[in-house]
């Protein structure tokens, strides 16, 4: 049976390894600084007693003033499941580090988020359009996206 870690308990564990990474928590959610996503992920994937080896999903939500990137992780050895989020501000070129070096499964998901939301993942080796075709303008999943006039 999986246990869902609360944001608070996760924050306490993360703060030991990556100080200044945690921005806040509420119930099961935990917000971390976008620039420390890679460090936190590295820690979570190797930390004893956690070892989050399965990256369930990466989602991006457009809150107009910021993008929220949501990571769902599962530890198959410890039967733990967590969520952590990173708020990325700015609409022109929002960016945060890629976690593809830790979880290969992030590849397509990060490409998809870049394609549809326009959030850049620094360090992704092959960040190009995945669902739409090369040369498409704009990122259609943003809330302010308008279909170009024909």
């Amino acid at each position: 049976m999986l246990t869902y870690l609360t944001g608070e308990s996760l924050a306490q564990r993360i703060e030991v390894a990556c100080p200044d990474a945690v921005k806040g928590w509420k119930r099961s959610d935990l917000w971390i600084a976008p620039e420390s996503v890679l460090d936190v992920s590295k820690y979570l994937s190797t930390a004893p007693g956690m070892k989050f080896d399965l990256l369930n999903s990466i989602s991006a939500v457009d809150y107009i003033d910021h993008f929220e990137i949501v990571y769902h992780l599962t530890s198959t050895s410890e039967n733990l499941s967590i969520v952590f989020k990173a708020k990325v501000y700015g609409r022109d070129n929002p960016a945060l580090p890629s976690v593809i070096s830790i979880w290969q499964g992030a590849d397509f998901q990060e490409r998809e988020i870049w394609d549809l939301m326009g959030v850049t993942f620094q360090g992704h080796p092959n960040l190009k359009r995945i669902m739409l075709w090369d040369g498409y303008e704009g990122h259609p999943l943003r809330r302010d996206y308008l279909e170009p006039p024909r």
Binding site: N56, S57, S59, V83, G105, L116, W133, P140
Partner: protein, 366 residues
Amino acid sequence: MSLSEPITVNVGPQHPSTHGVFRLRVTFDGELIVDLEPVFGYLHRGSEKLAEERTYTQVITLTDRLDYVSSMINNQAYVLACEKLSEVQVPERGSYLRTIAAELQRIASHLVATGFLLNDLGALATPLMYCFREREKILDLFEMLCGARITVSYMRVGGVFQDAPEDFWPAFKTFLEEMPYYIDEYEQFLVGNEILLMRLKGGNTVSKEQALNASITGPVLRSTGFSWDLRKVDPYEIYDRFDFDIPVGEQGDNFDRFYIRLQEMRESLRILNQCFKQIAPGPVRANVPYLYRPPAGDAYGRVESPKGELGFYLVSDGGIAPYRCKIRSPSLLNLSAIKEMLVGWKLADMIVTLGSIDINMGEVDR
């Protein structure tokens, strides 16, 4: 070392064996695959964007069209996410009907996967026809439940659309009695076939670590010998009441992926039999309004679909439509390690591996 001049071939998007409009840009050295790159998006319909424009109930019809051979389970994943958002309590009978529909759909999906895998092996549609014969019966049952066969839209937030009609139960019972015989038949004819064994055994393996690292779930992950089934590890709905086992493979090769599906059909039948015994009369749907407004917040609902972990990440702003509906599609992520699985193997293995991973382009491209 290259034996001949490498040539690059676009396998797909129009190719008989890429299960839809999947495209692989493959570099061959003779028949050997030296490099490949998957290209997606030929069936991209923007389901996630469309979901933002529709009410919570209307989105159910979109989920039907994701993995169109397992619509029931897509429905279930979505309504589970909705129920997590607002903590709706599903009536007992509703949960049972959902489980019955989902497990029937799992059998149907595995039948399609097995049939098309054999078709990819070159068995000229004969096993496919035999698999579809049983799938028809399941679709007939769905027709009784909700009037539709493929795009069912049977489940609703808080239960199911309607109770099963009277004539559903005898038909369901007949199906439960007949199906084990047919699964035996598939197993006897397919697993006893030497050519099938020669083709499937030992090829295109993926290790447990590799699979987990690449976010691979479902039968592909279980074929590596790792027991990971959300129905067991994170029981949703009423799965904790049932007694069933998880078949796992040993080597993570094509054969294990194929054989696990056959075994999972048997386990699904066990669940269905228990459902049939346990189901009691009662309401099938909680009182949820049509224009249902969950409180602001987010929820990640996931189920074990026939392909793997199917998740819906829903964000609500308190309105009648989801603010964001992210679909975690197992078909797409199961392709993460496709390069590792295929490089060094032959053209024919590529087709078989695509079949044994059981991708569905409706879900990959969404």
